[in-house]
């Protein structure tokens, strides 16, 4: 593979106006197929990390490589193209267009990839199928529950099969049942091979992820777990302990890990490992 890491941050710092040091030298690599949590309290710099990884902003110093591209050398147009094809975003507020069907909301996610409209809608339908909303294509956002709306947002983010899915507090606006619903979708996507980074302040969600990157005061203070492993059972969800037991053997910590493409298992294996998943 010509691209060893999906995400590669080297000595990244970010200083905002007024000498606010949001990031003070961050090194992080994420290999394809990982599921990791970037966790930290508010003000820790995790949102800034999201902006760096999401190429929504540029670092003050250091190198950011996404999907093999050095962000520093890219123009705004090239950055936009990179976001369009390599990144999928899921936000705390779902950011769905009101009065527009789930299908068209998802299809809008492919608008800037140059896909013809008919194909956008076909792929949107497939993406909604993947998040378990194949029966709700024509529903408008206000006709959907919070969990369903966030699943539509997830479908929009993955409709173009981006190498990296960035989820910023994906369950922050949801009750625990709806949150579990969304996490279960993320787990299934991870099982199918999608690289997912969840940005959260919620320790429970962080524990659920096989790899946890803890951020505090603009630095990574802990990086634990193997991102390629299947996640623990869905938090806040009854009957999830069985899943956790099934997958407990794969979640052994690998301290000091900076990521390695070599230990990413094949898609088929991971999909097989997830057959026991609780989604019905």
């Amino acid at each position: 593979m010509s691209v060893p890491y999906v995400v590669e941050l080297r000595g990244v710092t970010k200083v905002y106006a007024g000498d606010v040091q949001a990031l003070r030298g961050v090194d992080l690599t994420v290999a394809g197929g990982e599921l990791l949590a970037i966790v930290g309290p508010s003000g820790s710099g995790k949102s800034t990390m999201l902006h760096m990884i999401g190429t929504l902003d540029r670092p003050t110093s250091g190198t950011v490589r996404i999907d093999g591209f050095d962000v520093a050398g890219l123009s705004d147009r090239e950055l936009s193209a990179l976001r369009g094809r390599s990144l999928g975003f899921v936000f705390q507020q779902f950011h769905l267009a009101p009065g527009v069907s789930a299908l068209d909301n998802v299809a809008e996610g492919l608008l800037y990839t140059g896909t013809p409209r008919r194909e956008r809608r076909e792929r949107a339908a497939a993406a909604l199928e993947r998040v378990g909303l194949g029966h709700r294509l024509a529903h408008k956002p206000h006709q959907l529950s919070g969990g369903e709306q966030q699943r539509v947002a997830v479908a929009r983010a993955v409709a173009g099969d981006p190498p990296l899915l960035l989820a910023d507090e994906p369950t922050g606006n949801l009750d625990s049942a709806a949150g579990a619903e969304v996490l279960s979708v993320l787990r299934d996507l991870h099982a199918a091979g999608t690289t997912i980074a969840v940005i959260t302040h919620d320790a429970e969600i962080a524990e659920w992820c096989p790899r946890r990157v803890r951020v505090r005061d603009g630095r990574i203070v802990d990086d634990a777990g193997n991102g390629a492993d299947p996640p623990a059972g869905v938090p806040g969800r009854a009957g999830s302990t069985a899943d956790a037991a099934d997958q407990a053997d794969g979640s052994a910590d690998v301290p000091g890990r900076t990521g390695s493409a070599a230990d990413v298992p094949g898609r088929a294996e991971r999909a097989a490992a997830d057959i026991t998943g609780s989604r019905t």
Partner: protein, 397 residues
């Protein structure tokens, strides 16, 4: 790194769709700000349409009446005195090749009154004239009551009244006696309107022979009317003075009555500048309304802009989205305004019995103007939207 990143272009249909989606989300505001444009466009279309309709009516009238009528009247002598046309003028004109028909009227120094009790000074502005029997043919006029002068009545004390003369005398039927030159004449006919010869409408006409016999008419025509083929009008015009008065052609004046109508048509085609200006001001205000709506739209939709940037929209694509929205908004107003303006024109024309004419160039101009306004009103908001940093846009709650 061999892989290249280049953003893909939005298909024009997608640009329109995205722009229209923004409008659909806020229908009330869209309708109100499009209304501003619509009023301006409707005003301008109606002003142009109504004046074009009036003009069209005049041109059709001109077409109906023909432009091949020439009139000959006496000018002035070298010494500034009123010249006279020779008594032989009419037969001479008839001999000119392309002339179909020629006839004459001659002023008689007398008055027409209802009775002999009315003082001679009360003429009612009606002139008494002698007319050749061919006059009605030459002018392509018609009588509304009774009959025109013929070989018999032109020798008798019979009079035909022009439409305006009859109205002023209060005469609506034939057989009435009127007092002319110290004796009674009988009204034998009343003429219809004569748009090309309004002086005939205000005349009482008697035959040449009776005028010479009873009213002291000297036989000199004061005006000659002639029609020729359309193509030869200019040629005939050139030869007329020498034909009518070979000795003193400079004492003859030739004119073309249809020129007056054509001038009126041209004047009607010149638009009422004040009203057009009013429409332009309304359009300007409408444009400001569109700009205002777009600025608010950009402020309200920071999150949408942020989302689109995260989905891979370039600055250019965000800019074009808001420009398209602004263009659609003002185009909507333009189309509605063009329809309203055309309806106003049709309503006015219908009430006045005019043909409805809305020039295509006016519609085209209106659409063009709204597009220009759409672009101008959209540039600033679109630039603002495009300049918005994605992180700022997304962090807005």
């Amino acid at each position: 790194m061999t892989r290249r990143l280049s953003p893909s272009r939005l298909a024009p249909s997608d640009v329109l769709r995205v722009g229209a989606a923004g409008l659909r989300a806020r229908p009330t505001r869209v309708i109100l700000s499009a209304l501003g444009i619509a009023i301006g466009i409707a005003t301008m279309i109606a002003v142009i349409g109504i004046s074009s309709s009036s003009r069209e009516e005049l041109l059709r009238q001109l077409d109906r009446l023909g432009t091949n009528l020439l009139t000959v009247s006496p000018g002035h002598t070298l010494f500034g005195e009123q010249a006279e046309l020779p008594t032989t003028a009419v037969p001479m004109v008839r001999r000119v090749g392309p002339v179909y028909t020629a006839s004459a009227t001659g002023s008689i120094d007398t008055t027409i009154r209802r009775t002999d009790r009315i003082p001679a000074a009360v003429t009612g502005g009606i002139s008494v004239q002698a007319a050749t029997t061919e006059l009605l043919t030459t002018l392509e006029g018609r009588v509304t009551k009774g009959a025109w002068l013929n070989a018999a009545t032109e020798r008798q004390p019979a009079v035909v009244l022009g439409s305006e003369a009859a109205k002023r005398l209060g005469i609506t039927r034939i057989g009435v006696q009127v007092w002319m030159g110290e004796r009674w004449f009988t009204v034998v006919g009343i003429l219809g309107p004569m748009p090309l010869a309004p002086e005939i409408e205000r005349s009482a006409l008697v035959g040449f022979p009776v005028a010479e016999r009873l009213l002291g008419f000297d036989g000199h025509p004061s005006k000659i009317y002639e029609r020729s083929s359309e193509e030869s009008v200019e040629t005939v015009r050139d030869v007329l003075p020498r034909t009518v008065n070979p000795e003193n052609p400079q004492e003859v004046e030739v004119s073309r009555p249809s020129d007056a109508l054509a001038a009126r048509a041209a004047a009607a085609g010149a638009f009422t500048n004040l009203l057009l200006g009013l429409g332009a001001v309304a359009l300007l205000v409408g444009g400001v309304g569109v700009a205002n709506t777009m600025v608010i739209s950009v402020l309200e939709r920071r999150r949408e802009i942020g989302l689109r940037r995260s989905l891979g929209a370039t600055r250019g694509q965000v800019r074009i989205q808001f420009l398209a929205e602004s263009l659609l908004l003002s185009a909507l107003g333009g189309v509605v305004g063009a329809v309203l303006g055309s309806l106003a024109t049709a309503g006015y024309a219908l009430s006045r019995g005019l043909p409805t004419v809305v020039p295509p160039w006016a519609i085209g101009g209106a659409v063009g103007a709204t597009l220009v306004i759409g672009v101008i009103a959209g540039i600033y908001p679109a630039m603002r939207a495009a300049r918005l940093s994605p992180t700022v846009a997304l962090s807005t709650t």
